[in-house]
Amino acid sequence: MKTYARNFLWRSWVPLILIALWQILLRNSTNPYFPTPSQILADTKYVITPDWIMSSLKSSALTFLAGYTLGSIAGILLGAVIGASEILREILTPITNFIRSIPSVAKVPVIMAMLGIGQATRIATVAIAVLFPMLMTTTRAIATTDAKTLDMANLLGFGRIRTLFEVRLPAATGEILTGLQAAVQIGILVMVISEMLGSGIGLGAFIIHSQSTFMIADMWVGIFILGVIGLLLNEFFLFAERKIAPWYFRSKGLI
């Protein structure tokens, strides 16, 4: 725990210096678009009111968490089934590849057109955006399960379904975790976009709204909060990887 904290502080000196630089260089500038960090900090207490937290933050949190969870579970399960079946893989891979190649941004208007505006739509959008990458990661991980490990399962008398759930999936844990980590960024992106394009609730909407009403400091507060959330989630993953699949991350030299 101590080394972790020390590492974290050690990793933060550059951001701190950058922020200090920002403060010093723009101290006397009147550029309305780049307020100094001290101004942003001062503004924070006006933004983060209980009201705001209850409405904007809660809405975004719900959108992201629900969408991400649904999307990743669906993606992993479907990916597992497809990955274990050569024929399904061959038929479906071109289709999933194609859909995955469509920029997530573009999927948002399409889904909104189909399902309308509202929190359910935003959740669905995040879920779909997360589903496809997770499906592909899982398919790949399951399909490339080590042949020797599969042999052993065969020798131990495991049937197809047992092999899938008790051998292939656990063996794929490391890769799936890595995929989940990448999917967080996609989820955040799509959440923000769907809020920007849709109704007026949530962090993304707040950022756009602040900009259009010229409350620039507010906008920056929103941006920073997004960054902090992303950072926290990332740290969470580093921690989880170590705990859940140490054998995989050690072999990759990431621990």
Binding site: K148, L155, L156, F158, P170, P246, R250, S251
Partner: protein
């Protein structure tokens, strides 16, 4: 040789090819008596592992068949234990040692306490008592291979197959493991087939050595090893008979090339 509980294996005219131009095995025939230890020896790449996969029921031969106690096998038998060279890929890394060793119990109706007892016994028999909570990645290569051996023997199989089991461990550990296997095989009275490219190891462990060479692979020699048991690394390996067998086997492996 007395009849033991081990299987009697009969390999009859087994050939295997993977497609048109890739004939790996040609007309392989040999028998393994109940309780006998047979080593299949040959240079790397000759096809030993393929033969082993056929004998264990993982793949089917193109021609010929393999019979266990008279019956043709079509899939892996549940009374067979298997140890491969790559312990890191055959032990499940997400399970600890205890759970890995207990894997063969799945699907069998055994009480939890009985299961634990047998796992502890198995671990003790390979010198790893108390290690059941460790994970494979925390153990050395030699120890991981011991776990694999414990797992292979826990259900008291009647056939034990080892595929180059000591090729990935260092030299001294290899000698220890050889003795461990010899000891366990004797205690368990299990028919054993061991594949190795190491001539010394083959002669040291086996009752009979089958030399495989040429391409496609054929049986070029069957050598009976009349060395006294129990065998020890120091004494047996310096026995003049050992050296003579070694020479004979070496020539047998060169096959048609000598």
């Amino acid at each position: 040789m007395a009849i033991t509980r081990g299987f009697k294996i009969s390999v009859r005219k087994v050939s295997k090819d993977f497609g048109v131009n890739s004939k790996v095995l040609s007309n392989i025939s040999f028998d393994v008596a109940s309780g006998e230890i047979v080593a299949i020896c040959g240079l790397s790449g000759v096809g030993k592992s393929t033969l082993l996969r056929i004998v264990s029921g993982l793949i089917a031969p193109t021609k010929g068949d393999v019979r266990i106690d008279g019956k043709v096998i079509t899939k892996p038998s549940s009374e067979m234990g298997f140890v491969t060279q790559d312990y890191s890929r055959s032990l499940f890394p997400w399970l600890n040692v205890g759970k890995n060793v207990a894997l063969p119990f799945k699907g069998h109706d055994i009480s939890k306490s009985e299961r634990n007892l047998r796992v502890q016994e198995a671990l003790a028999s390979v010198g790893l008592e108390g290690k059941s909570d460790a994970y494979p990645w925390q153990l050395s290569g030699g120890m991981q291979q011991r776990v694999a051996i414990a797992r292979a023997l826990i259900m008291k199989p009647r056939l034990l197959i080892l595929d180059e089991p000591f090729a990935s461990v260092d030299a001294y550990v290899r000698l220890e493991l050889e003795d461990l296997v010899a000891d366990l095989v004797e205690k368990n009275q299990v028919t054993t087939i061991i594949v190795t490219h190491d001539i010394d190891e083959a002669i040291y462990l086996a009752d009979r050595v089958i030399a495989l060479s040429d391409s496609p692979a054929k049986v070029t020699m069957e050598l009976v090893i009349k060395l006294q048991r129990p065998r020890t690394q120091m004494i047996t390996r310096s026995d003049p008979k050992f050296l003579k067998l070694r020479e004979t086997l070496y020539k047998g492996l060169r096959g048609a090339n000598v």
